[in-house]
């Protein structure tokens, strides 16, 4: 489990996080959402130990990430937004780093490269951006770490590749592993992520599962704009209204509408979800 308590973090004079607390439970695929610059990437880096908080504590299964102990590092992997271009083939690269990870599986890597349709013979720097991302994803999943952090993983992927991405993530995620996907492209991960964490500057606006969200918030698809809705958006053929679930009705979460509703009613929804 990842526990973040009273975290403060700033880049020089720019405050990114102020006294935020957050928990990530094992066995889930979290969607980490937020506007540009709220600190999604920074949060992932702090959890991985690549940045050190100024105040507060971060604990991953009892380890302090910033100490970068091997026992901690062998259970985490971060796939950054900008994929790193190595002058080697993905196969050689994974053989080079895989030996450090206790559950690394080379057969799984080959299987994933096949599923993601990546050319095994090419070097990273000879692959297209999307192919590189998929190759890195195959590397990341084949390490079978307990925690996998994906920063904007679908950026640069074409439509079939996005479907492949969802497929391999859902297939290769176990009950013991936790995946945190930081993204702007909520539609790409709509049926993949649960729970959702919405970050704001200096605050965590939401950290809840779909079940918890639909218990308190109702997503109404209808012909008209409702007055008591937190947020309303016109869709082809009508409106989606995000509103309090006073009648305890079931509905399907529309992540984009939810995100906009949360951003427009920060305190209200935060208090509602407490």
């Amino acid at each position: 489990m990842i526990k973040i308590n009273n975290l403060d973090f700033a880049y020089n004079n720019t405050q990114v996080f102020k006294n935020i607390s957050l928990e990530f439970q094992k066995g889930n695929i979290y969607g980490l959402l937020g506007e540009n610059g709220v600190g999604k990437t920074t949060l992932l880096k702090i959890i991985c130990g690549l940045q050190k908080p100024q105040n507060g504590s971060v604990s991953v299964d009892g380890f302090t990430p910033s100490k970068r102990l091997p026992e901690f590092l062998q259970n985490v992997f971060l796939l950054p937004e900008e994929v790193i271009t190595e002058d080697t083939t993905p196969e050689r690269f994974i053989q080079k780093i895989g030996v450090f990870y206790p559950r690394y599986d080379f057969a799984l890597f080959n299987q994933l490269m096949g599923e993601l349709e990546v050319d095994l013979s090419k070097k990273f720097n000879e692959l297209s951006h999307g192919q590189k991302k998929k190759a890195w994803l195959a590397c990341a999943l084949s390490l079978q770490t307990d925690y996998l952090f994906l920063d904007e993983p679908t950026n640069g992927l074409d439509i079939p590749s996005k479907a492949l991405f969802r497929q391999v993530i859902s297939q290769h995620c176990s009950d013991e592993s936790t995946i945190i996907i930081s993204t702007h492209q909520v539609k790409d991960v709509e049926n993949l992520i649960d729970p959702i964490v919405i970050l704001d500057r200096d605050d965590v606006l939401l950290n809840a599962s779909f079940a918890e969200i639909t218990e308190k918030i109702y997503f109404e698809y209808g012909p008209e704009r409702l007055q008591n809705a937190y947020y309303t958006e016109m869709l082809p053929g009508g409106y989606i209204n995000v509103m309090p679930n006073t009648e305890h009705e079931e509905s399907n979460v529309n992540i984009e509408a939810l995100f906009n509703a949360v951003m427009k009613n920060k305190e209200t929804i935060k208090n509602l979800m407490k």
Partner: protein, 279 residues
């Protein structure tokens, strides 16, 4: 699990860095190895007469030593250029090995492996060239590791007779001390540039050379000011031989201790940077 040092994990990081070693440095080594070959070819192709220059092994040892210093200077930035890069360094930072293991592996490749590979290669090339009928006389490899023979030969060659006492002083030093001094010099140069490699993101070697030049200028200004003010240069020294011997003794000791201090500080800095580098 021992999170500070584990021999299996150290073996893995050595292998990891080793796999990166040749692709990252072989081109630079090849260029540096080619320099004596170019000199050989250039001299061989010139029309020969009595004035054609012949290169004795000691001159070539000087060249190999100078080039090995260049190899030491460039090695950290060639081998570990991305380790503090905000993007590319992430893979290195997140490799499941301890700071100590990563540090020792870095020292091993920068301080030991790189110069050994360069020197072995350079001496092999020199031997092959010396076997050919060209301007290279004798074998550098015969004298490379014999410091005293090298010093004596250089003095004889350059007809140095200023004072025999400091040759005697050199001779009084034990071979072990000379090896330690030489190894310490290698460690110092390498550790300075390893530290530069960790603190600078771009133009790592150039910036470090710039800093050393500035520090050297400041040091010389302070030293000259000190000498002028204390009138040490204008004193009438009765026993010049003794003065030279004493000065060399002081310089040797100062270099020895300065190298220990600088190496220790730089290596500690490298260790700290590996441990705390932010990405």
């Amino acid at each position: 699990m021992n999170n500070t040092f584990n021999i299996n994990r150290f073996g893995k990081i050595l292998k990891h860095d080793g796999l990166n070693f040749f692709p990252n440095i072989i081109l630079a080594l090849a260029i540096i190895w080619a320099i004596p070959v170019i000199v050989f070819l250039f001299t061989s192709l010139m029309p020969s007469d009595e004035t054609t220059q012949l290169y004795d092994p000691f001159s070539r040892i000087d060249i190999i030593s100078t080039l090995s210093t260049i190899v030491l200077i460039i090695a950290p930035a060639r081998l570990y250029k991305t380790c503090n890069d905000p993007r590319k360094g992430i893979v290195y930072a997140m490799l499941p090995a301890s700071t100590l293991e990563k540090f020792l592996s870095m020292v091993f490749y920068c301080v030991i492996v790189t110069p050994i590979i360069y020197i072995v290669g350079a001496l092999a090339i020199d031997t092959i060239l010396a076997l050919l009928n060209g301007p290279y006389e004798g074998f550098a490899v015969s004298y490379y590791f014999d410091t005293f023979a090298k010093i004596n030969a250089v003095f004889e060659r350059d007809n140095i007779t200023i004072d025999e006492s400091w040759i005697l002083y050199y001779k009084s030093l034990s071979p072990t001390f000379m090896i330690v001094l030489s190894a310490l010099g290698t460690l110092t140069i390498s550790s300075i540039f390893m530290f530069g490699n960790m603190i600078f993101k771009r133009h790592k070697t150039g910036k470090m050379i710039g800093i050393l030049i500035i520090m050297f200028i400041i040091f010389m200004i302070v030293l000259i000011n000190y000498a002028v003010h204390t009138e040490v240069l204008t004193h009438n020294i009765e026993d010049k031989a003794e003065f030279v011997k004493y000065t060399i003794f002081l310089i040797m000791n100062a270099i020895f201790y300065a190298e220990i201090i600088v190496s220790a500080l730089m290596l500690f800095g490298v260790y700290r940077k590996i441990k705390t580098q932010k990405y």
